[in-house]
């Protein structure tokens, strides 16, 4: 049998299919739930590249990807094609192409550093060139980016939904850290990226976690709120029912005692509950912490972080709608992609503002990057078609960073969420600026969950999920007293000592966004940049 392999590299994990080339069927699936590079978001990954070298990042990445391929459980000698998709940062690291043009936003920084914007058009290159363990001569297909920070993943979300089809007005958004979004008006396409941040993935939230057993993934309204907790099969099951206003337990559920944290979708539900209960006032929860079950709680700060993200998404949608010259009442069809976009309760997402308020139909379509890469495997000539689409979209890109409308709206968002400004004032201010009013959500949207999981088909051989992808960074620090302050301070248990050697597991480490180990070292001898990849790994 001859195989093709499709790969999606995401900020929080890698997934891959093996495909039977004779009939295009998916044979098997392999996944990791962590990105091998230190850090929780693309900027951390970029910082890592800049500080410790793009080459090192590339090698860590490829070692992880090759482990993923092994977990597909097919004979890699029979692989004939590979296709990849993902955001431009991960793709560049994967290809071993520089990322400096992505790491620094702004022309000044580019000029000062002599950075050139790299070409991220579609490409066909030998897979062995990037270090994949597949037979010599196997081609690797790389889909094009739309614009330098709107990557192939954004193209995937448009291509793999009904977004581009026919006439009408619809919007699509990938609910990841970068929130790529696009609006289609009878074929005229407007794009933007609202860098919402990782709150929607449960990060920068005190008790936040990725979806895994014990995570509160939703709150269901049963006239009070019922925590839904993921069980060992990752199925949300009823936990405790809580009166959020008083924090009292009303009724224990099956999953009582089993909650350990909360996912991004859970946090969105918490925001919806806080808004519904009128408990979010002047940027604070009127009830103190929102107590859920088993001691898991949401703080005002958590909501505030999430609201900054929601605000950025809403401001982004709003800005596109303004630039396109349509009204909110024209925007009735919304497509949500990405894991968060698939698992979040779409009605709640609309209530809190992540989806335009008058959307009537909402489609949740899953991980489109992997799906598009798989399509390329089946039909390599698709690559040219995709390049054509990408080229045609380039014209209407709205740079939110320099956009006055975005800034005007985002300031309203900040005041609305953080200071408790009313929607009335929000709209009055916008009207002064000549911007249409933001309506309240009305009625109930029809939610179409097109897929049950973000990856709908696993194939006959099923799915292998594995954790152990990380590489280790090690160093001995001169003057270290082995006081272990750094170990105790590490929030992720990513750091330990082997004898005098400090060892950091990269997949767990938060990287530059954290740096607690270094900052807290009483002897000031911990130097993160002195850490080296241990030879055994690579």
């Amino acid at each position: 049998m001859e195989y093709g392999i499709s790969i999606d590299i995401g900020t929080s994990g890698i997934s891959s299919h093996a495909v039977d080339l004779s009939d295009g069927r998916i044979i098997s699936t392999a996944m990791t739930s962590r990105n091998p590079l230190p850090g929780a978001n693309v900027m951390d990954h970029l910082t890592f590249c800049i500080r410790y070298g793009e080459d090192l990042a590339h090698r860590i990445m490829m070692s992880a990807v090759n482990r993923v391929l092994e977990n597909l459980r097919v004979d890699l000698k029979d692989v004939r094609r590979v296709a990849i998709c993902g955001n431009p940062i991960q793709l560049s690291i994967f290809q071993g192409m520089g990322v400096d043009d992505l790491a620094f936003a702004g022309e000044t920084a580019h000029r000062v550093r002599g950075i050139k914007i790299r070409n991220r058009d579609s490409a066909e290159i030998p897979a062995t060139d990037v270090g994949l363990n597949v037979p010599d001569g196997t081609p690797l297909f790389v889909p094009p980016a739309i614009k330098h920070e709107i990557g192939a993943d954004a193209l995937a979300m448009m291509y793999k939904s009904n977004f581009l089809e026919g006439k009408g007005i619809r919007m699509v958004t990938d609910y990841g850290t970068n929130a790529e979004m696009a609006l289609n008006i009878d074929g005229e396409i407007y794009t933007g990226s609202a860098a919402a941040g990782p709150a929607m993935e449960g990060q920068s939230v005190e008790r936040g976690m990725l979806a895994s057993p014990g995570a509160i993934s939703d709150l269901e309204y049963e006239f009070q709120w019922r925590c839904m907790v993921l069980d060992d099969e990752m199925i949300p099951r009823p936990g405790d029912k809580i009166d959020l206003a008083t924090g009292s337990l009303i009724e224990e559920g099956d999953m009582h005692g089993k909650a350990v944290g909360i996912t991004g979708t859970g946090v969105v539900a918490a925001v919806a509950a806080a808004i519904h209960g009128n408990m979010w006032k002047k940027g604070r929860l009127t009830i103190g912490d929102m107590r859920l079950q088993d001691g898991v709680k949401i703080t005002s700060n958590d909501i505030s972080e999430t609201c900054k993200a929601i605000g950025a998404i809403r401001a982004g949608h709003f800005t596109l709608i303004e630039h396109a010259g349509i009204g909110f009442d024209d925007m009735k069809e919304m497509i949500m992609s990405g894991a968060s976009g698939t698992y979040v309760d779409a009605a709640k997402a609309r209530e809190v503002g992540m989806v335009p308020p008058l959307s009537r139909n909402i489609y949740q379509i899953g991980n489109t990057s992997l799906a598009m890469a798989t399509d390329i495997i089946r039909r390599p000539e698709l690559l040219d078609e995709l390049q054509g689409i990408a080229d045609s979209i380039r014209s209407n890109h709205v740079m939110f960073a320099t956009d006055k409308v975005f800034e005007e709206i985002y300031i309203q968002e900040l005041a609305y969420w953080e200071e408790g400004m009313t929607l009335e004032t929000y709209n009055r201010n916008l009207s002064t600026a000549g911007i249409q009013a933001l309506p309240r959500p009305k009625g109930m949207p029809n939610v179409h969950r097109i897929v049950v999981r973000d990856i709908p088909v696993f194939g006959d051989l099923g799915m292998h999920m594995f954790e152990d992808i990380g590489t280790e960074l090690t160093a001995e620090f001169e003057g270290c007293t082995l006081c272990h302050t750094c170990v105790d301070e590490c929030p992720e248990d990513a750091l330990q000592f082997r004898g005098r050697t400090a060892v950091v597991r990269t997949k767990d480490c938060l990287g530059t966004a954290c740096g607690r180990c270094q900052l807290k070292c009483p002897e000031k001898v911990f130097k993160y940049e002195e850490l080296r990849v241990s030879d055994t790994d690579l």
């Binding site: 936003a105 702004g106 300031i411 309203q412 408790g420 400004m421 201010n429």
Partner: protein
């Protein structure tokens, strides 16, 4: 009778008394607006964010003999003080403070031209979003707060090269420079600025701020000081003017920003 345990709040509310503590623009204005009719009109344009009217109103006042400096300080700035007051009391919100500041600035730029030798303020600061960073909303907010507190702000914009900052500092001689960074890739620019200033023998505090920056980072290099929220900037700046150097600001940081 056991009276001690009664929680009267569970029985009744004194909305009348509570209302006394709630401010409306009108009520505060009545207390704080200047009494001179010209100045009152000027201050009101700022208070009510009449961005289109401020020009004509200022021009009329100047023509009718109001001293430009008095017009600025007792009219425009006085109006802005009321706005800050309302903001602190949650009557006005961020967008309003931004609009009012814009109104004030238009007025100042008109009046300023008529002051021989230009206007003197509390002092001059340079603000910017650092090299490689496009996130300037927080900086814009902080700049407004500084201007409203009577400082001159030289806003260099976003994605400003470290060398541009150094060159401008040398030329303009501010008493403080601030850099805003929201990306972990860019925040190191603050340290670079501090290093170059120090090498040039300019020991003014370098305030590092913005989402990516935390206090530990801001204080990890010489000259570096931290500010968490925009409203904290004016009190810190006041202390610098009062003679605090970066070390003393760090030592007293918690006290300076307490409650803000």
């Amino acid at each position: 009778m056991s009276k001690t345990k009664i929680d009267y709040g569970a029985i009744l509310r004194r909305y009348d008394a509570e209302l006394e503590n709630v401010s409306t623009p009108e009520a505060i204005a009545a207390k704080m607006l200047p009494s001179d009719p010209h100045l009152k009109e000027v201050a009101s344009t700022v208070l009510y964010m009449k961005i289109r009217e401020v020009g004509p109103v200022v021009m009329k006042a100047l023509k009718e003999g109001v001293e430009p400096l008095i017009l600025i300080n007792k009219g425009l700035v006085a109006g802005m003080e009321i706005v800050s007051n309302l903001y602190a009391q949650h009557v006005y919100y961020l967008p309003e403070i931004m609009m009012a500041a814009k109104t004030m600035e238009i007025g100042i730029s008109i009046a300023e031209k008529q002051i021989p030798g230009g206007r003197t303020t509390k002092g001059k600061v340079i603000m910017h979003a650092v090299e490689g960073d496009p996130h300037d909303i927080g900086k814009n907010i902080a700049a407004v707060m500084m201007r409203s507190s009577g400082f001159t702000v030289l806003d260099l914009g976003k994605d400003v090269a470290v060398d541009t900052v150094i060159a401008t500092v040398k030329e303009e001689k501010p008493f403080m420079v601030s850099g805003t960074a929201l990306m972990t890739t860019t925040m190191t620019a603050c340290a670079a600025i501090a290093e170059k200033l120090k090498a040039a023998g300019i020991n003014i505090p370098v305030m590092a701020a913005g989402g990516a920056v935390h206090r530990d980072f801001a204080e990890s290099f010489d000259l570096g000081i931290y500010s968490e929220k925009a409203p904290q900037t004016p009190p810190i700046a006041d202390k610098i003017l009062a003679g605090y150097d970066w070390k003393k600001i760090r030592e007293n940081w918690d006290d300076i920003v307490e409650g803000i």
